[in-house]
Symmetry: C2
Subunit: 208 residues, 2 copies
């Protein structure tokens, strides 16, 4: 099982590292981080450099394509990257995304008429690209597996582990990661938690 | 608030990226990834390269030191890194770790007689270094904040966000990360989930 995870300048690092953290524990999995060119990319905050070991030209066909989100606008408009995604999708067994990564897939035209997840703040943008938005944390529509914002990629990773290696192995992966989440507050769900006060802080104070 | 996150060959990437993912959203925070030398390090699986923008010699005093885990043995025996950790700890406001990162702090002698968390499989090793093991997900003992295995660093990150910026801002960070975890299985807690069958799979089949 060969997995290609796309990296780009402006990426939200946890979108890539969340699902990678479980998938890499499967012995039958080989993961390659792929950029437009091989070399360093910087996360959107500028603080973190991640290495793309291959460029889209060098990348062999992947069984699973994983597209993270972040500052996706320039990726959505990059014809070379969009061509690569369409090409990789033609032969992939699964095509997946985290957060606003589904906008990149949608811009490439491969989610047309399908149902997908994205970051809650990107719902309208996904719908404008002809995709049915689902508020579910992980959405499976045919071979397309998409997840909600940022941290949802961790849950998606375990869903993919089960698809690849079965339930018992995926459960052992969860145990090895000690993934027994205990958030100190209960503010992760936009339906319940996106109060005007928090949205105001989010929009005016946070670096995102 | 200047945060130094240590990177090393053999690191478990999510240990570093989990807490970074929330801390980086705080506008008053500057994060620097620090290696023994500046340059690329590889995660323990070999698949991922992370860039250390500074070496331990170049690093200015940090308000918060964050030590991730992974294959920590060589770091625990590296006198130059251990000296740097002790030096950084002398002036830090908070010294923190994720997973087996607490073994690195313990090897440097700065957790002696304290209570700390670590990955569940590392409990005995932590105790042998003179530290009281706690099974809690996030442990606060004075200025030392330590967390359990791998994914626990995400919960710790939000605890640290509250310490730095207050509850309302930390809640907005959680919302922006859509951190409303929904693991597909309930196997992340070793007390409840470390059955002989899962331990057998974990030890004989997983790449960790």
């Amino acid at each position: 099982m060969h997995i290609a995870i796309f990296l780009f300048d402006g990426i939200t690092a946890l979108d890539a590292i969340g699902p990678y953290a479980s998938l890499t524990r499967l012995p039958q999995v080989q993961i390659q981080f792929v950029g437009k060119q091989a070399g360093l990319v910087r996360a959107g905050d500028g603080f973190l450099g991640l290495q793309a070991d291959a460029g889209i030209g060098d990348e062999p066909a992947a069984d699973m394509l994983l597209i993270p989100g972040g500052a996706v606008d320039s990726v959505m408009e990059d014809a070379a990257v969009q061509d690569w995604i369409r090409r990789a999708d033609r032969t992939s067994q699964w095509t997946t995304s985290v957060c606003s990564g589904s906008l990149i897939l949608a811009a490439a035209g491969i989610l047309a008429g399908r149902t997908a997840a994205t970051h809650w703040a990107r719902k309208r943008q996904l719908e404008e690209l002809g995709v049915r938005y689902s508020p579910e944390r992980v959405v499976i529509d045919g071979k397309y597996v998409t997840s909600a914002g940022v941290s949802a990629g961790i849950d998606m990773g375990l869903v993919l582990c089960e698809m690849i290696a079965g339930r018992a192995v995926a459960e052992a992966v969860q145990l090895s990661m000690q993934y027994d989440p205990q958030p100190p507050f209960d503010c992760g769900d936009p339906e319940r938690s996106a109060t005007p006060e928090r949205l105001q802080i989010l929009r005016s104070q946070l670096r995102i």
